[in-house]
């Protein structure tokens, strides 16, 4: 048992040291620029009277530019572009028409950071468009009718969340909000009123992690669950399949700048 606790303690210390190391490194760099720091093999001495024991000081890279540590309470902005892989809830309906229930969307958005501590607000938009074929469902099986049909979806997300500020480059966050999805279906040979154009209201919940690569550039991955109930299912193949939700699970890769 003692050995177990010892092992756990070592792992925790190692993680903490990695975190502290980054902060100290920035401070040391700052002082070093002012010529008031000396680096020994295993410690840093600062002539202001402060003395820090830096257990990981050997990993310092002296040539790295100085980094200003973020101020947790300073209002910030993150603007980003996104690539989404949407796995749609209405699998059968989209499979019948598009041949797949996974669609790729491109978009962008902006987060307002640190409104209060880790609280942030988000506005984002993405869009996807894919062409398939009108279909008919008989006994649960979809049959293509070879009439081109283009489905477009443009969800606009408005929401917020909480960023878990850490001393690392990685910042996890969670959130949620409402979305308005502009949805359209356009078919060859469609007569008046036969194309679909509508706006659906739904919600989303998200979780992700952001990593700073350089001072201003961030990349991240995010998972979203979107619910857009009662958007389909009154007619079309979605009625045959009894599918009513236009939402789904979205895996998002984002890249952006943060200020």
């Amino acid at each position: 048992m003692r050995l177990f606790f010892k092992l756990v303690s070592m792992v925790v210390l190692a993680l903490l040291s990695t975190s502290v190391c980054a902060q100290e490194r920035a401070a040391v760099d700052d002082l070093r620029e002012r010529g008031s720091v000396s680096v020994a093999s295993d410690s840093v001495q600062i002539d202001t009277g402060e003395s820090l024991r830096v257990t990981a000081s050997k990993r310092l890279e002296i040539g790295q530019p100085p980094r200003v540590p973020p101020e947790p309470n300073a209002l910030g902005v993150r603007a980003f572009g996104t690539v989404d892989i949407n796995a749609l809830t209405a699998q059968n309906s989209f499979n019948a028409v598009l041949g797949t229930s996974r669609v790729t969307a491109f978009g962008g958005g902006v987060d307002v950071l640190n409104i209060w501590r880790g609280l942030f607000l988000r506005a984002a938009v993405s869009t996807t468009s894919k062409t398939g074929s009108r279909a008919f469902v008989a006994n649960g099986q979809a049959v293509s009718l070879n009439i081109p049909l283009t489905v477009s979806m443009t969800p606009v997300e408005v929401g917020g969340g909480w960023r878990f500020l850490t001393r690392t480059r990685a910042t996890p966050y969670v959130g949620g909000g409402a979305l308005a999805q502009f949805y359209s279906e356009k078919s060859n040979f469609a007569g008046p009123g036969e194309n679909v154009s509508q706006t659906n209201i739904g919600y989303f919940a998200l979780g992700g992690i952001e990593v700073e690569t350089v001072r201003w550039l961030v990349v991240g991955v995010e998972a979203q669950f979107r619910g857009i109930p009662h958007a389909i299912g009154q007619s079309g193949v979605s009625q045959s399949f009894g599918e009513t939700n236009l939402g789904g699970f979205t895996t998002r890769v984002l890249i952006g700048v943060k200020h």
Binding site: F94, V97, A138, I147, S187, V196, G233, S238
Partner: protein, 529 residues
């Protein structure tokens, strides 16, 4: 025996003259003379021995023709002395022979006319009551089923003269927009018209016929309809007067040609009217014989006299053979505008076989909604084979509506009706309320007025009946299949789901089935929402 009230009107456009005939049944009861030539007293013709050279057409034997005449005169719905028997699978020839010993005539297995697999037709020379024959065979353990060789009839007839050409029927089912999506179907698709045939050659044949005083050899000219071209015909067959695949088929009635014209007469050719699937190949499968088929056959066999005007029809054996032939030779749509009032297992087997081979079948639902001399005493009996469609995914029973899209007065109703299509209704605007298509010029071959017929002239002629409704569904099915749908069951489901409900806000009714067929909606299909 012809069913329902129907009209045949021919417009001689150039002269602006309207020529027509009244219903055949009425004329048959009142006319004793034809074209000024005295006729023999009607009845079963008497044998006077062979006369003159054999005609190229028809092929049917005189004895067999006489059998049909006898059936017509006795009002039988089966061919006297003919029974269809299906032996159980695996029964040996010895077993089959044992079963046949139950019949008084004790026929040999080798004397049977085999139709398919274990199914054969037996012609009994001792017992004319086919119900007795079938009962005797049914009692044998080797027999799966036995039934009379029922006679089917066309479910439309020519009627009174008219004066205009109208295809309200195509507008009613939104055909122009359907053609926007699929203009006329694909030329590789085959639609079989199992009916009285479609003339596939332009040629003159010699034939013997009765002129009222003697048997006379005449020249009978035939021509392909100007609304078709020979290249559109494929693998014709004749099970009515021949024994299957033929190099030529001749329509001596006009019914088959009218039906085929609805399915796909040439369109956008500045001639006549339009057809629905005007690019598809047509397979003429003759299973019905009309007045002239019988008349020529009898005269060639040496019989004298005229054939009764109500003689003719289509035997269940021929219908079943025609269905199987069509399916075996690549037809993906089969139209059956014919019917009777007794269920037939051989037809059911053939329908199941055709659907299993990927062929969609449209059948006329019958014309006996109201009391009619051509119908049984009971009102609105189920019509077969249409009534079999309920249990076959991929085969549909088609009822008729008129221009107002209301139920046509004659169109049989019942739980077996699955879909409605324009079949015409002369009670709504006279001939303008009927279905106009190209067929042989009726005054050229109307047996109530003509003794030397010709079949080489065509006109736009109005007919009405569920016979006219079924080809609308066949044509629509041809377009749907051309669009890429291959399963007959899916075609049926698509037609049902896209139908316009009639009579009820939604769902089906006995009068209309699932409603009025909407080919455009079927072709357009569905999006996600």
């Amino acid at each position: 025996m012809l069913k329902g009230t129907s009209v045949a009107v021919c417009l001689i456009a150039a002269a602006g003259i309207v020529v027509g005939t009244t219903g055949r049944r009425v004329r048959a009861q009142t006319t004793e003379r034809r074209s000024g030539v005295p006729t023999a007293r009607r009845g079963i013709p008497t044998v006077v021995g062979p006369r003159g050279p054999a005609s190229v057409y028809p092929v049917m034997s005189g004895a067999r023709a006489l059998t049909f005449i006898g059936a017509a005169q006795r009002g039988l719905d089966y061919v006297p002395g003919e029974v269809i028997v299906k032996f159980k699978s695996g029964v040996s020839v010895t077993g089959q022979q044992r079963a046949l010993r139950a019949l008084r005539s004790r026929p040999m297995v080798t004397d049977l006319e085999w139709i398919s697999g274990d199914t054969a037709l037996h012609r009994d020379e001792l017992e004319y009551d086919a119900h007795i024959l079938s009962t005797q065979l049914l009692e044998q353990p080797e027999v799966a089923y036995a039934e009379p060789n029922y006679i089917r009839h066309f479910q439309s007839t020519p009627n009174d003269p008219g004066y205009a050409q109208h295809q309200w029927n195509f507008a009613a089912i939104d055909m122009p927009r359907a053609w926007d999506i699929n203009p006329g179907g694909t030329s590789s698709l085959i639609v079989a018209v199992v009916d009285s045939g479609i003339t596939t050659v332009s040629q003159t044949f010699s034939a013997l016929t009765w002129n009222g005083q003697s048997t006379q050899q005449i020249s009978v000219p035939f021509a392909i309809s100007p609304e078709f071209s020979a290249s559109r015909f494929i693998t014709p067959a004749d099970f009515a007067t021949g024994s299957g695949a033929q190099s030529i088929v001749l329509d001596l009635d006009g019914h088959g040609t009218h039906v085929a014209s609805t399915i796909g007469e040439n369109t956008n050719n500045n001639i006549g009217e339009a057809g629905i699937a005007y690019n598809v190949k047509l397979m003429p499968v003759k299973v019905c014989f009309g007045y002239w088929d019988l008349q020529f056959a009898l005269s060639a066999a040496g019989f004298t006299g005229f054939v009764p005007l109500n003689a003719g029809g289509c035997t269940a054996a021929a219908v079943a053979s025609g269905i199987r032939y069509a399916a075996d030779n690549g037809a993906k749509v089969i139209n059956l505008s014919l019917g009777g009032f007794a269920s037939s297992s051989i037809e059911q087997d053939a329908l199941n076989y055709a659907v299993s081979k990927g062929a969609f079948v449209a059948m006329s639902a019958g014309n006996c909604y109201q009391a009619n001399p051509a119908c049984p005493p009971m009102v609105n009996p189920p019509a077969y084979p249409a009534a079999l469609a309920t249990n076959i995914d991929g085969a549909m029973a088609v009822a008729a509506v008129g221009p107002s899209l209301n139920h046509s007065f004659y169109s049989s109703a019942g739980p077996y009706v699955e879909i409605s299509a324009p079949g015409g209704n002369d009670l709504e605007g006279g001939v303008n309320g009927m279905i106009w298509q190209a067929t042989i010029f009726p005054p050229d071959s109307d047996p109530s007025t003509v003794i030397f017929p010709r079949f080489d002239r065509y006109a736009e002629v109005p007919y009405e009946g569920t016979s006219m409704a079924a080809p609308h569904v066949s044509g629509a099915a041809a377009l749907i299949i051309s669009q890429g749908v291959t399963s007959p069951a899916v075609v049926e489901a698509l037609i049902k789901q896209t139908a316009r409900p009639l009579g009820t806000a939604s769902g089906r009714s006995d009068l209309y089935g699932f409603g009025l067929i909407q080919p455009r909606a079927a072709l357009f299909g569905f999006g996600i929402k």
